[in-house]
Symmetry: C2
Subunit: 347 residues, 2 copies
DNA sequence: ACTTGGCACTCGGTAAACGAGAGTGCCAGA
DNA sequence: TCTGGCACTCTCGTTTACCGAGTGCCAAGT
């Protein structure tokens, strides 16, 4: 009872099942793979694998199907990363390099990922909390209102309008705005957003009581932008693929679609992964904390501008998915997106 | 053979079918509605309605189901607008009034519409081409790069970075930017975006040859923003409702989900409707040009900031939908969103 | 000229019965 | 420890039979 062969058998089962989507029996296995043993032997191995909880028989007289645990072992120990074809690589660069702004990058990325993997793609917008400030702009809007515009290194732009209860159209108002703008940029440019925000808070004291009434709300607005994690957004594509794969989901795709509309939950899922930006994380079936997604697997990885990870992206599909290929696609896309964001920053 | 009664029968059929989702027979009809005639009479009427193409029998011995044409007659001539309940109205205002920026308004709107109608909601972003310029801002980014920020009356903000090949950090550079900014705002503020763009083009001649090399790319960038109708975006919510209503769709929901991912197509659909902002447009089944959506109906209406329509929103569901209620919900939401956008503009 | 009750007929859907096929578990022998 | 053989189990697809809802039509009533 070589441990080794048993794992070979497991791998063969996973591969066949992924391909045919039908429970695989001992006979079919020995026919399709060179295992060098007879069907009866394979049956014994299967019985053991079943005891270990790696595979499972839907009913007495059907073939075996991998369990979540079985896929886990497959992913961790048995699969080799499948490199993308040359065509796929160029398709990725081609498609992504045409993007004109951040929205466009994200949009293209998610579509690309969906069509590449033929599953549901999820892309998180680069989060503010991990990015650095590139520029702060104050735009008087006539009257007492001022627009605060924040530009961060990922290309993302946030704006808030604040009402200061004081008319800024006077010459003094304008110089105040100008000096505030200058000081803020001096202080914040290049710093991580979170650090910049606390730094700006101390800036308030530099000004006279009167002016402080103007500066303070501006700083508050900036802090609010940071606090509003609500602003964390995800974008989806490829939901239609769920319908195509419908047979793979025990009940129906309804609960899955519902779960996908809970963006907050998706964000949490994407957030919970290793900090190593190169490491692709895989969450298989029940390992997934979200009810409704327990018949799916999520393959995700961080991406960012250059080395620092600012957000995540991933692919969601049935547990019966082609993990090596999906993981390769996810990783490749994340890399290119990071590259593009890095370029945008440096120029 | 009173024409009148036949329409009563049609209305009854539509109402019953919408409620039960089962073909309705003559007997059930006379039981549930006070038609004052016998089942046999109703059968005769039904035969006529079938000849007219308003209803249809799935097979010899089943009840009748409305055809697309039947629904059309129902919507145009037989349905009364069903006013929303007090609770629903307050729910709408409550939910929408908490929005902090344009993204948030659109996001909340689409979710609200989906949960209100329990169908798929579609909201188009306020389009630039129909809105007016509120402010133009030029932000030097250090070096030779300049960020052009456009703020329009719907609260939408667009930005582009242009590389001018000339260093602007010098004092002359700064005054040039300042004067360009001033002139641009003088010229463009308050004008419809399209008019403003052509107006700005003439501005180029005001400057000396040297400076023109700076101004020209900026104007070009603004024109590009306008041209890029690509930037027209839609947001969806409630796809999960499709799964719930799955039985209503002949084949599967796959093609529908696919069609919904073609945002360009959706935009075209939303664009093709009457200019009367108060008029709710209904496209029923086959009336719909998009293959894949031919088993669905789209209820849509324009909305905007104040009186001018700048975009559309709507609801997509099975042809077997509760038209009066859906139409009421769509109209009410559009009204409130318009109100909110109007407020944002005036303040 | 409509309306109505009666009646034969049609046809989809469900349930039961059945056979085929695939796959297993186990055992005895190599 | 592996292998061939064999009896057993269970799903799935097919066939058959039947029930009931609903229709279309007709002859009689108002």
């Amino acid at each position: 009872m070589s441990e080794d062969r048993r794992l070979h058998v497991l791998r063969a089962i996973v591969q066949d099942y992924v391909q045919t989507s039908e429970p695989v029996g001992s006979k079919a296995l020995v026919e399709r793979h060179q295992l060098g043993v007879s069907a009866a032997t394979v049956r014994n191995d299967m019985a053991l694998l079943e005891e270990e909880g790696l595979i499972h028989a839907p009913h007495t007289s059907a073939g075996r199907v991998p369990t979540d645990l079985g896929y886990r072992v497959f992913v961790d120990r048995l699969s080799e990363v499948k490199p993308l074809s040359r065509g796929e690589r160029t398709a990725i660069t081609q498609f992504l390099s045409g993007a004109v702004d951040l929205d466009d990058i994200v949009d293209r990325t998610v579509r690309l990922l969906a069509s590449l993997t033929r599953q549901v793609a999820v892309v998180q917008y680069p989060s503010l909390t991990r990015s650095t400030v590139r520029h702060v702009e104050l735009v008087p809007m006539g009257g007492t209102r001022l627009m605060v515009v924040l530009i961060v290194n990922t290309g993302r732009v946030e704006q808030r309008v604040v009402d200061l209860g004081r008319d800024l159209t006077s010459p003094e108002g304008e110089t105040l705005v100008a000096s505030a703008r200058a000081r803020m940029n001096e202080l914040a440019t290049g710093l991580p957003f979170r650090v910049a925000a606390t730094g700006l808070r101390t800036l308030v004291d530099e000004f006279s009581d009167d002016d402080r009434r103007v500066i303070e709300p501006v700083v508050t607005a900036i802090e609010e932008v940071l606090v509003e994690e609500r602003e964390e957004r995800v974008v989806l594509a490829g939901q239609a693929n769920l319908a195509r794969l419908g047979a793979d989901f025990p009940s129906s795709i309804g609960p899955i679609l519902e779960a996908l509309e809970e963006h907050v939950v998706l964000l949490r899922l994407l957030g919970e992964l290793s900090d190593d930006p190169e490491l692709v994380s895989v969450r298989i079936g029940r390992e997934n904390p979200v009810s409704g997604l327990q018949s799916t697997s999520l393959v995700s990885v961080g991406y960012g501008s250059g080395a620092e990870r600012v957000a995540s992206l991933g692919v969601l599909g049935p547990t019966r998915m082609d993990y090596p290929t999906t993981m390769a696609a996810v990783r490749a896309v994340a890399r290119y997106v990071s590259e593009i964001l890095g370029d945008a920053r440096s120029t």
